[in-house]
């Protein structure tokens, strides 16, 4: 795994975050208590004079890890976050995705509509999955959350002008260029608090966090960040291999993205 220059990555992410704040009136941040979205909160603080000046949304299906809930409440208090918990319902879904997928999208749609958010900061990275490798730094979603993956906007140089259709919203992806190992190196450098689920107990840990239903732990003895970084340097397993939903075909994920699920 390639270790990039953290200063350069940080600089670009801050630039994109500030561009977003200049362009959009009502921004929110999506937070799952995972390492990427938590790192995003700290990048936001760097960009905005030590504050998180936007509401932070947690899409909660009710069966997240207890550790995640504890982590959420403690960090929200520490960083004085404006936390919005949007509850999503577990529903029958035609494609078979029950706890992740369409019902999370519905909760997100509701929150966006209620608060009239015009942009959403999301912590996805290009290296997470082949489909995500096609994303833009600022990506438009229409009012039905459809991602027109066949017709993405242009992004020339560092210009992120986008379609000014008022009915949809823009997804902002400041961490697109970051690799998994870069995130951990940054976490170590900045002393960013991390969900304890990432660390090994009983010979198992979670490399990627979903909810209690769909996330599977991996065999590992990595007990701290240094161990995790060491492990990443030698691993061959893809990061999301513990997430049941990713074992579906790639094009199903594409379908999900087109529907607006993260």
């Amino acid at each position: 795994m390639i270790e990039q220059n953290l200063k350069d990555l940080e600089e670009k992410s801050i630039y994109i975050l500030r561009e977003a704040s200049a362009k959009f009136k009502n921004i929110a941040v999506l937070w799952s208590m995972g390492k990427d979205s938590t790192t995003m909160l700290y990048l936001i603080r760097k960009a905005f004079l030590g504050k998180v000046p936007f509401p932070v949304i947690h899409i909660d299906n009710g069966i997240d890890f207890p550790e995640s809930y504890k982590f959420r409440d403690e960090l929200a208090k520490k960083l004085k976050l404006n936390l919005i918990v949007a509850k999503s319902e577990i529903k029958p879904e035609i494609s078979g995705f029950s706890c992740c997928g369409t019902n999370k999208t519905e909760a997100l749609k509701r929150v966006l509509k209620e608060h009239k958010f015009d942009a959403l900061i999301v912590s996805i990275r290009r290296d997470e999955h082949a489909i995500r490798a096609k994303e833009r730094y600022m990506s438009y979603r229409d009012k039905n959350f459809k991602w027109n993956y066949k017709n993405q906007p242009a992004e020339l140089w560092d210009d992120y002008s986008s379609n000014l259709d008022t009915e949809g919203h823009i997804r902002v992806h400041p961490m697109l260029d970051w690799n998994e190992i870069d995130v951990w190196r940054y976490i170590k450098q900045e002393h960013i608090p991390i969900n304890p689920l990432y660390f090994s107990i009983n010979g198992f840990r979670y490399r990627s966090l979903g909810c209690t239903h769909c996330t599977v732990p991996i065999k590992s003895n990595a007990k701290n960040i240094d161990d995790i970084i060491k492990e990443l340097k030698t691993t061959n397993i893809e990061e999301r291999s513990g997430r049941e939903q990713d074992k579906e075909k790639e094009y199903v994920m594409q379908k999900l993205r087109a529907l607006g699920y993260l």
Binding site: I131, K150, Q152, S161
Partner: protein, 380 residues
């Protein structure tokens, strides 16, 4: 910490770009075994024979149609650096995706099929890449296996490319020719015995030599900072040249107001500033300069532009993150995919510089009347 060099891979749709990148990714073991396995399974299900290009063409449509719809960035480690290959669509209809992929690359890798030669589309892409700011190109003549690796086959192409490159707008610094077969893996990582008449390095070695030779582009110039917007009592921006000095006077342009920077905070070139200017409304798109002679101010600019759809008498441009209305005198019948050199009038004054002097403040994005992306321009 490794330096990553962006390489845009351009060329005709059948020249074999995706195959080349896919093959490089496999040979350098940049793509995980899991991803190769996934791609192999997918192609089996589609009843297709696995090709290295499938690793990149992850969109279902792309695989089934056999063409690349959008850009993919694949990172490949090589010796003590890394390359980020940006594979862009070759089809004219997907030109905006090609422009996006090429706009941030440092080197252009042009893939030419020995069977097709230098096509009209490839010429267009080279011209656009050069206009976007790329000065260094490697020409990889692919599919040499189809002509038995014969030297005669490449001579016409060689000549054609050199003639084509002469009048390009933006000055070419380095070019290199390379030959091989992406599918067969000939002359990519290692020299090929089949191309006995070629005494040069394999492709990856050439790329490596190119990027290692990359000179520093920023001369020691006086300070220019482009401004993004205001937040609380601060202003955000990007240092384009020079450095920030506290308690020094700068000029806010195009307003021509004298301001001082009272405090600043840097993350590389991303900066937050406390300036003495109290009215910060509408600060996006403006610049702070140390020396007024470094920039120009006007609402009329002389530009070289590329339009995807033929231009109409007015359109919009995005310059330093801000949108302006622009008008153009069109006297001839416009066409699609047209290059126009002309003066355009903007609805507000801007502070800018010519592209050849300072790229960051010498370029703009073009949108049509409906605010849909329609091309880009370079200030002369």
């Amino acid at each position: 910490m490794i330096n990553i060099y962006k390489i845009v891979v351009i060329g005709d749709k059948d020249a074999g770009k995706s195959t080349l990148i896919g093959k490089i990714a496999m040979l350098t073991k940049a793509v995980s075994k899991a991803r190769i396995k996934e791609s192999k399974n997918e192609s089996k299900k589609l009843g297709k024979k696995f090709e290295p290009a499938f690793i990149l063409d992850v969109f279902k449509e792309e695989r089934e149609k056999g063409l690349t719809i959008d850009t993919t960035a694949v990172e490949v480690p090589y010796k003590d650096v890394a390359f980020q290959f940006i594979d862009v669509p070759g089809h004219e209809s997907l030109i905006k995706n090609m422009l996006t992929g090429a706009s941030n690359a440092k080197v252009g890798l042009v893939v030419i099929s020995v069977k097709e030669g230098l096509t009209r589309e490839t010429k267009l892409h080279i011209k656009l890449a050069n206009m976007l700011g790329i000065n260094n190109f490697i020409f990889f003549i692919n599919k040499m296996d189809k002509c038995y690796y014969s030297k005669d086959a490449i001579i016409e192409i060689f000549r054609g490319v050199n003639i084509f490159l002469i009048p390009l707008f933006n000055g070419i610094k380095y070019i290199k020719f390379n030959y091989g077969s992406a599918l067969k893996g000939e002359n990519i990582m290692k020299p090929s015995k089949k191309i006995w008449w070629y005494k040069g390095r394999p492709l990856m070695e050439d790329l490596y030599a190119f990027v290692k030779d990359d000179e520093k582009t920023n001369e020691n110039m006086s300070t220019i900072i482009s401004l993004q917007g205001a937040f609380e009592n601060k202003v955000f921006g990007k240092v384009i040249s020079g450095d920030i000095k506290q308690n020094k006077y700068y000029y806010l342009m195009p307003d021509n107001k004298k301001v001082s920077i009272d405090e600043y905070n840097k993350n590389g070139s991303s900066v937050s500033l406390k300036i003495s200017q109290s009215d910060k409304t509408d600060i996006s798109g403006k610049v702070l300069v140390e020396n007024k002679n470094d920039i120009m101010v006007s609402d009329e600019i002389n530009a070289k532009m590329f339009f995807i759809k033929k231009p109409e008498n007015y359109f919009y441009i995005s310059f330093l993150g801000k949108t302006y209305k622009a008008t153009l005198n069109i006297n001839e019948n416009g066409k699609n995919f047209i290059f126009i050199d002309s003066i355009i009038k903007i609805d507000n004054k801007i502070a800018y510089q010519s592209f050849s002097k300072i790229k960051d403040i010498g370029r703009f994005v073009i949108y049509d009347k409906d605010l849909k992306f329609n091309g880009f321009g370079i200030i002369k």
